[in-house]
Every structure is written in structure tokens, then in C-alpha cells.
């Protein structure tokens, strides 16, 4: 067995642990955050501040009966939750948490993440189709059109960043932004393109798209609970539902990671590269940034009502795609000039 393969297996194991812990405790964060936003304490009873709630919930989910509705295609029905979880896990392989904390550096890391994100969209379709439920079916159709609509601006914006940094490798993209927060891609002032006013807006676009890609409020049309009951996972119980749930939170982490890497300088310290503690704490900076983004995710979810499917598509096709396309052109032009 080659060393690289072993490396990847260990990394996947660590990624599973990381994703599992993250998913579990992000649920806690979400519930606690929701509580605090809503003038109530959130989970309180299990452990201090309800910190034991996630494991207890996990045990509950695992011990529940897995119900399979009559007349469904069992194989499709069972494979959907796995499909939801698997791409998110694999994507972690290529995400650089720090200079050397990365499972496997791939030169086309960005491409790989997008490839697997598309697979995640398919899991919703399979789940909705396999459930033999009208609500689930409608939800999966919605989810797919949403994924398609939002992958385009997401990709275009990412290409812009790739053009600026000149690499598809995530580590390279971060290294391009090292040396203080003024070097991050979020600012209009750029090393390679001079001055591009649209960069902060691009950041917003990628942020909105990652909210939409992860099916979170206000774009949670797939599981719009007041319209489609629970959407694609209406018929799932026990760990089937649990996997969807974990997959959702894993996707959130991926989305936050991607935003951080592309625009917020990844693990780079905001105050330049001082080589002493705590500024050299690279993973710390990375985690801080992604959790800040997740905090905003939670904040948004507990503030806004849901959009409709046409509102969502309008936003994508009328605003996000034109602006990101324009930014792509502008950046290409600026790259030629400078």
C-alpha cells in the first residue's frame, strides 16, 4: 500500500471525525443560536448549557426504527442518504486547513469540490424520486432547479478568483492571499488585477450561493416545511434522516471553507505573517473564519422568511449570474491590462 493511499485513508477518517463532530455540534450551535435570537435559552437540560444534547440526539436517531414506505424502490431509497453524506466527506480531502494540514493536495481542488457538490444535488433528486411521495417529488424537482441555478454564479465567481490567483489548487489560492487581510480577495485592491470594485460583491455572491447550495433558509425550498412538509426527507426516519441532516451540516462546513479559502485568505493571519504565537496559529485562523461564516449562516436562517422558487430563480438569473459574468469579463480585462 502506497504512502499516499494510507495518507488519504487516514485523512478521510479524520475528515469523518471532523465532519461528524462538526455536524453534531453545529446542530447544537444552531439550536442554541436560534434560542438566543428568539429570547429563549435553547437546549439546557443535557449537560452544561445542553452540550450533551448532540450525542443524546444521535443515540435517539440511531435507535429509532428505519421505516421504509411501501412500494418504494428500496435500493434507490436507501442509497440517497449515503449520496448526501458521501460527497461532503470526500470534498474534505482536498481542503487545506493549514500549510501542511491537508489530506491530499490536488492541483484541481476547486474542480473536485464542485464535482462532488453536484453529486450532492443528485442525492436530493434520488431521495425525492425514491420516496414515492408527492411532496418529496416536488421538493426534489425544486432542489435540482435550485442547485443548477446557483451552481452557475458560484462557478463563474470561482473562476474569477482562479484567474486572479492563477491556480486551481486551493493551497495556492490561499498562499496567493498571504500577508495580511489587505491581501485577501474580498477587497477591490488586488495584487494581480489592480483595482476591481466588484470583488466584495463577488464575495456576497459566493456567500449567497453557498447558502442556496446547502439548501438553507432563506433558500430552503427543498425542505420548505410549511409548504412541502419536510421535502425530500419526508419519508426518511432514523439514521436515514440523520444522514441527510449530517450531510446538510457537512455541506455548510464545505461552503464556509470554500468561501474562506477563496475570499478570506484561508488560514492566513489577518495581520500579516508574524511568526510568533498566537499569530502563527494557522488552523486556528481558518477555523475562526469558517465558524464566523457559519455564525452568519445561522443568523440569516433565524431572521428571514423563505423565498419562493421563482424569487430564488429570479435572484439567480437576474442578479447573480449577470453580475458575476460581468465581473469575470472585467477581471479578464484587468488581468490583460496589469
Amino acid at each position: 500500500m502506497s504512502l499516499t493511499l494510507l495518507n488519504v485513508i487516514i485523512a478521510v477518517f479524520i475528515a469523518i471525525c471532523f465532519v461528524g463532530a462538526n455536524a453534531a455540534y453545529l446542530v447544537w450551535c444552531e439550536r442554541k443560536g436560534a434560542g438566543l435570537y428568539q429570547r429563549r435559552p435553547g437546549p439546557m437540560e443535557n449537560g452544561p448549557w445542553g452540550l450533551l444534547q448532540p450525542p443524546v440526539d444521535g443515540v435517539k436517531l440511531m435507535t429509532k426504527q428505519l421505516l421504509i414506505p411501501g412500494g418504494v424502490d428500496k435500493a434507490i431509497f436507501m442509497v440517497a442518504p449515503v449520496l448526501a453524506m458521501f460527497p461532503a466527506l470526500i470534498s474534505f480531502v482536498t481542503i487545506p486547513f493549514s500549510t501542511n494540514i491537508v489530506a491530499h493536495q490536488i492541483d484541481v481542488g476547486v474542480l473536485m469540490i464542485f464535482a462532488f457538490a453536484a453529486l450532492g444535488g443528485m442525492s436530493l433528486l434520488v431521495a425525492g424520486w425514491g420516496s414515492r411521495n408527492k411532496y418529496a417529488m416536488m421538493s426534489s424537482v425544486r432542489a435540482v432547479s435550485q442547485t443548477v441555478a446557483y451552481e452557475i454564479p458560484l462557478l463563474i465567481t470561482t473562476i474569477t478568483v482562479v484567474m486572479i490567483s492563477g491556480s486551481l489548487n486551493l493551497t495556492d489560492i490561499v498562499e496567493f492571499q498571504l500577508g495580511g487581510f489587505w491581501n485577501w480577495n474580498i477587497w477591490p485592491l488586488q495584487k494581480s488585477v489592480g483595482f476591481n470594485l466588484l470583488m466584495p460583491i463577488s464575495f456576497l455572491i459566493i456567500f449567497v450561493c453557498s447558502v442556496a447550495e446547502t439548501n438553507r433558509a432563506p433558500f430552503d425550498l427543498g425542505e420548505a416545511e410549511s409548504e412541502l412538509v419536510a421535502g425530500f426527507h419526508t419519508e426518511y426516519s432514523s439514521m436515514g434522516f440523520g444522514l441527510f441532516f449530517m450531510g446538510e451540516y457537512a455541506n455548510i462546513v464545505i461552503g464556509a471553507c470554500l468561501t474562506t479559502i477563496l475570499f478570506l485568505g484561508g488560514w492566513s493571519c489577518p495581520f500579516g505573517d508574524w511568526g510568533f504565537f498566537p499569530f502563527n496559529h494557522h488552523v486556528g485562523w481558518f477555523l475562526l473564519k469558517i465558524y464566523l461564516i457559519i455564525f452568519v449562516f445561522i443568523w440569516i436562517r433565524w431572521t428571514f422568511p423563505r423565498t419562493t422558487i421563482y424569487g430564488l430563480l429570479n435572484l439567480s438569473w437576474k442578479y447573480l449570474i449577470p453580475i458575476s459574468l460581468f465581473n469575470l469579463l472585467l477581471t479578464a480585462g484587468l488581468l490583460k491590462v496589469f
Binding site: R39, P41, W299
Partner: protein
């Protein structure tokens, strides 16, 4: 075209305003009460299920006139009394409240002219058995006297 950008601007502004409202609540103390650990004080007028009132000697005030039984819309009160020998008044021997039917309207308390009934302040009444709600108020009074 102008509408395009003003829409974008006003929309983004309204979203930020909303986010500012919720984030202001974030650091504040919750307004809820963690119920089993602490509980609210009931108001004096709180209408729990009814209970019998006793006079100074600890005997119920009730004279078994049956007004409450007749006033009750749901027929959840059943009472009985007997006249001991040598006494003018009837003495209450049984007062059963079927709380499963009670709608807490208070017609019984209002109909009573002898201040023999009042609302209790009890609200922790959850149970899984129906029998728990068929209450013997006379027994309850005796227990209270002890």
C-alpha cells in the same frame, strides 16, 4: 435599469435592518422560565379546578343544595348528603368532581351562595390515567385540614 439597482439596494438594506433587529436580541437574557426548575406564582384569580371551603371547625361550608350540580354545563359535579338525626342541616357525604369534563367556566363557584366552593391554584395536573381526574373533593378537604 434604474429600478434594477434601486431594487437591489433597498432589498439589501431591508435585509440588513432585519438582521440588526435579531442580532440585538442575541446577547440579551432569555425571557422564558425553565419550568420544572422554577415556576410562576399563580394569580389570585387563577381558575384551577374547584375545591371545597371549610368553616372554622373544619367542616365543609356546603349545605348540599345542589346548585353547583345544576349550574354545571357539563355535568361534572356529583354530590350527595344526608341529614343526621337531630340536625336541621344536611351534611355533605360525597363530592365528586369529574375533571375530565370540566371546562373551568366557574358557573359552580358563582352559583354557590354559601361560599362553599373556590378555585384552587393547582395547575400541575398532568397524568396518564383518567382516574386521577375524578377527584374526591371531600377527601381533598380532609387532607388539607391535616
Amino acid at each position: 435599469m434604474g429600478g434594477y439597482f434601486s431594487d437591489l439596494y433597498s432589498g439589501a438594506k431591508s435585509l440588513l435592518e432585519g438582521m440588526w433587529v435579531t442580532v440585538k436580541e442575541f446577547p440579551q437574557q432569555p425571557v422564558t422560565l425553565s419550568y420544572p426548575h422554577e415556576s410562576v406564582k399563580m394569580y389570585r384569580r387563577f381558575r384551577g379546578h374547584i375545591e371545597l371551603l371549610a368553616d372554622d371547625e373544619g367542616k365543609p361550608n356546603c349545605i348540599v343544595c345542589g346548585m353547583c350540580e345544576r349550574a354545571c354545563p357539563s355535568g361534572c359535579i356529583s354530590l350527595a348528603g344526608e341529614k343526621p338525626e337531630g340536625s336541621k342541616k344536611k351534611v355533605l357525604t360525597k363530592y365528586i368532581l369529574d375533571f375530565t369534563k370540566c371546562s373551568l367556566c366557574g358557573s359552580c363557584v358563582e352559583s354557590c351562595n354559601f361560599s362553599a366552593l373556590q378555585f384552587s391554584n393547582e395547575y400541575n395536573l398532568a397524568s396518564t390515567r383518567k382516574e386521577d381526574f375524578i377527584m374526591d373533593l371531600l377527601k381533598r378537604l380532609e387532607e388539607q385540614q391535616k
